[in-house]
Symmetry: C2
Subunit: 231 residues, 2 copies
């Protein structure tokens, strides 16, 4: 029984690994149960012992990929001392971009239409990783909030009720000094990191600029400057 479970987990991991390889080679749409089975010397139907449906496999993959992305960002963030909140934001942003450039298919899997008819489930590991990423960003904003607050004092009032109930609970526990506007600011930070990154990954900048790295750096520099952090 124990042995059986280990074999099962191992096979499940192999399925995911091969799915990742197929995705890296031929894009997210190259993930097909038949191709995976072919690669493993199995039959397509056999995979249904491990994943009830193809979307379940995709969901598991999204969880793994998202986790790897957030891991990379957090490692880069933690390499910068907490006394430099602007540097931590910059590190997060640049690590995210570098991860995306190194794993474009993973980025599409997370932030785009992952695969033909896939629709994400309500919960699942992807959702959890997303919450983790969001929490990381909120922490970055919270660490800089005293200076941000001074500059954004004229900001429109936000209310806790504007945001997701569970997220609010977490935020008020972990960052008791952060007002609702801090979450709104976090979303703006997220959006600013995401915008150029998505345009670049999906090839929309290629027809304009040869290397968007400088533009992205300038934009992130402007971001932390507008947050009131020197650099």
């Amino acid at each position: 029984m124990r042995r059986r479970d280990r074999l099962r987990a191992q096979t499940s991991a192999e399925i995911k690994a091969i799915a990742m390889k197929l995705m890296a080679d031929g894009g997210p749409d190259a993930i097909s149960l038949r191709a995976i089975a072919r690669e493993m010397g199995m039959t397509a139907g056999a995979i249904y012992s491990y994943f009830a449906t193809r979307d379940d496999l995709i969901t598991a993959l999204i969880g793994d990929v998202y986790t790897s992305a957030v891991d990379a960002a957090e490692v880069a963030r933690d390499a910068v001392p907490e006394t430099d909140p602007g540097g931590r934001i910059l590190a997060w942003a640049q690590a995210s971009r570098e991860w995306a450039l190194a794993n474009p298919e993973g980025f599409r899997l997370i932030y785009g239409d992952p695969v033909p008819g896939y629709r994400p489930p309500g919960d699942g590991p992807g959702k959890q990783a997303e919450i983790r990423a969001c929490s990381g960003l909120i922490g970055l904003v919270a660490a800089a909030w005293t200076t941000v607050q001074a500059r954004q004092s004229e900001d429109r009032a936000y209310d806790w009720a504007d945001f997701d109930r569970d997220l609010v609970a977490h935020v008020r526990k972990d960052f008791p000094d952060l007002p609702p506007a801090g979450i709104a600011m976090t979303l703006r930070v997220w959006g600013r990191m995401h915008g150029l990154m998505a345009l670049e990954i999906y090839g929309h900048l290629r027809t304009v600029i040869h290397d968007p790295a400088t533009v992205y750096r300038d934009e992130m520099h402007d971001l932390i400057a507008s947050l009131g952090l020197i650099s």
Copy 2:
């Protein structure tokens, strides 16, 4: 011959219209030649008389959708007098977001993985529409450049060689006073508009905030403020 051409154009338009309807109903992946043919009372193979392959049809659709998006943005922009460059940028941004919310599938078609195995061709109508959108944004930035220049004077130097040759030719003809940094700034503006919009359309904000409209408005307001335009 004339009559033949007219019928051909009409049928081609009907194919695209039905494809748009299918996309609006069931997402970009609902576009299948068989489904279109079924809807038209034809055979799947017949469509190959009008579009050599399914990707060609998608390409044509992308051109149409992109054009409609840029049209909406330009109409909104032109409703604001040229004496208010900040308002014109704001109008462009909000019209783009509203278009995206009204046509989420269209947004995915343009900015995401349009459809299973599709890869955009080098030229084509989609590229032209993208150039048109980019030109519109450059125009907006150029109109505000004198104030922008004052605030971003410490910006890192850009060179014309950093950008696409054809685009540079157009820019130097249409906006002779805009330096290379103006194109970089345009990309940053584009990215800032795109970021929150993409996150929202792909459902990543839904788990955080109930209505991102205010955040988007704040972000765009901050954008034109950082450009040195009052509001």
